[in-house]
């Protein structure tokens, strides 16, 4: 499906554009590869999707997840890969992407990450961006907001979550080796999660009927 492919392309673009920034964040308290890994993965996704015009949205997400799993490596590969696989499974057989479906996809993605990574919120990982984003999204949804507005609020919450990671000690991921010295540093994975939400929101804004 062309829209799904374009949406993933927007994610790829923002990740590749932030390759250095994400790597630098990882350098401070990790091993300086998060941007390299994610960019390598999304380059591969771009390549895969270039030859996959006719696929439905669920297949696009599945292909994205499989490609990330087999090209990113490190912690982020299995985590984001699983997230896309799970989100794609939710979309399976759905004709259109409404707010409910989007919320279910986000929930499934987060569930996959938690299962794979055995982490919870507050451990200075991508979950500290994603879980607040999910909460903001569902709250907005329950208040009857549009998909775009839900995404905008989710992205804002993710941004706050990224800020929050500076204030806590890492207990999962490579930064946990630093103990207290991880304080003050922003988590790379939370940042890439925020960036992807931001790209999705930008994409939704462009394609939203109201604009």
């Amino acid at each position: 499906m062309a829209t799904a492919i374009a949406a993933i392309a927007a994610l790829a673009e923002i990740i590749i554009a932030n390759k250095e920034k994400l790597t630098e964040l990882d350098a401070a308290i990790g091993d300086a590869d998060h941007g390299l890994n994610m960019a390598r993965g999304f380059e591969a996704v771009r390549g895969k999707l270039a030859g996959a015009q006719a696929e439905d949205a669920a297949s696009v997400l599945k292909l994205t997840g499989m490609t990330l799993i087999s090209t990113v490596g490190g912690a982020a590969g299995p985590l984001y890969g699983t997230a896309f696989l799970r989100a794609g499974a939710v979309l399976q057989g759905q004709a259109e992407l409404d707010t409910d479906t989007a919320a279910a996809m986000l929930k499934a993605a987060i569930g996959g990450i938690k299962e794979r990574g055995k982490a919870v919120r507050g451990e200075k990982t991508m979950l500290d961006a994603l879980e607040p984003a999910y909460e903001a999204f569902t709250q907005a949804m329950n208040e009857g907001e549009t998909l775009l507005q839900c995404l905008e609020l989710a992205t804002e919450a993710a941004a706050n979550g990224v800020e929050y990671t500076k204030t806590i000690i890492a207990t999962k991921g490579r930064a946990s080796y630093l103990g207290e010295r991880s304080l003050g540093h922003q988590d790379a994975g939370a940042t890439s999660s925020y960036l992807m939400l931001k790209a999705l929101t930008g994409f939704a804004r462009q394609h939203s009927p109201g604009v």
């Binding site: 790597t23 350098a27 308290i29 990790g30 091993d31 300086a32 590869d33 390299l36 890994n37 390598r40 799993i69 087999s70 090209t71 990113v72 490596g73 490190g74 912690a75 982020a76 590969g77 299995p78 985590l79 794979r116 990574g117 207990t171 999962k172 991921g173 490579r174 946990s176 080796y177 630093l178 103990g179 010295r181």
Partner: protein, 332 residues
Amino acid sequence: MKKIINDAEQVVEEMLQGAVLAHPQYVKRVEGFNVLVRANSPVQGKVALVSGGGSGHEPSHAGYVGRGMLDGAVAGAVFTSPTPDQVYEAVKVVDGGKGVLLIIKNYTGDIMNFEMAAEMAEADGVAVAKVVVNDDVAVENSTWTTGRRGIAGTVFVHKIAGAKAETGADLAEVQRVAEKVIANVRSMGMALSPCIVPAAGKPSFTLADNEVEIGMGIHGEPGTHRESLRTADATAEHLVGKILDDLSVNAGEEVAVMINGLGGTPLMELYVVNRKVAALLAGKNINIAKTYIGNYMTSLEMAGFSVTVLKLDGELKELLLAPADTPALVQF
């Protein structure tokens, strides 16, 4: 960045090609994968051992593929865990019918990727067991964090579990021995200089002219602290002290020692370090059964070293001293 390479993006591929060309008697490439296996893989009727991790730690792990050690090694991007499909392929290729032991260093990424591969292989009916090496005492061991990192002590797991597998032992036995090594091995390192991941093009940290990083990880992860460069003796004493705080070795007991260069350290300096390490152990009446000294688990061109102490019992000693024939470790 001054490196003898052609293209930062191709460095792992070209390294693997160069390794196969250098060691055809030991290893072959699994076509289409960043996997090197024994030239005669699969070895029938023997438990197979697979290890791997990010590239940049050479000779780990492909250098230990050969008789008496590993059956396969999986190379990720530089300093990045390999992906599950790669590990899965390695497992399938080396399985000789008695199952496969995965030797994983304790990093979140490695564990997740190897676990996914294990799930895939098990679904195919291959018996897979896993051990996770966590020898780095620079990192506090606690159950609510990810625990200690796996560093140079991993080579002792390859050596000893590999020797056990060579005896025809079954998967559970090989795993038991590997776990025993892990329970008895501790390491800690220090760095004089950072290294540069080719694709990054610049060092992930910097050190002042006289500054060193104590307890850093093999991917340039920050260590316990920075300090002014001290003498080799003072540094060795600090590292050995940390190791023996964590690993109780009594007078009269026996150990193996590894003085591991990180890639940019002259052997001369490793020998100077070994002089003190040996003296410290002798001072506690701890016997050294064997010392390995050289570049075993590196961090590209990083200058620095790590010390590993493995406490031996009769079983571990016999397996440690058993023959091995691999590109990077030969003994007979």
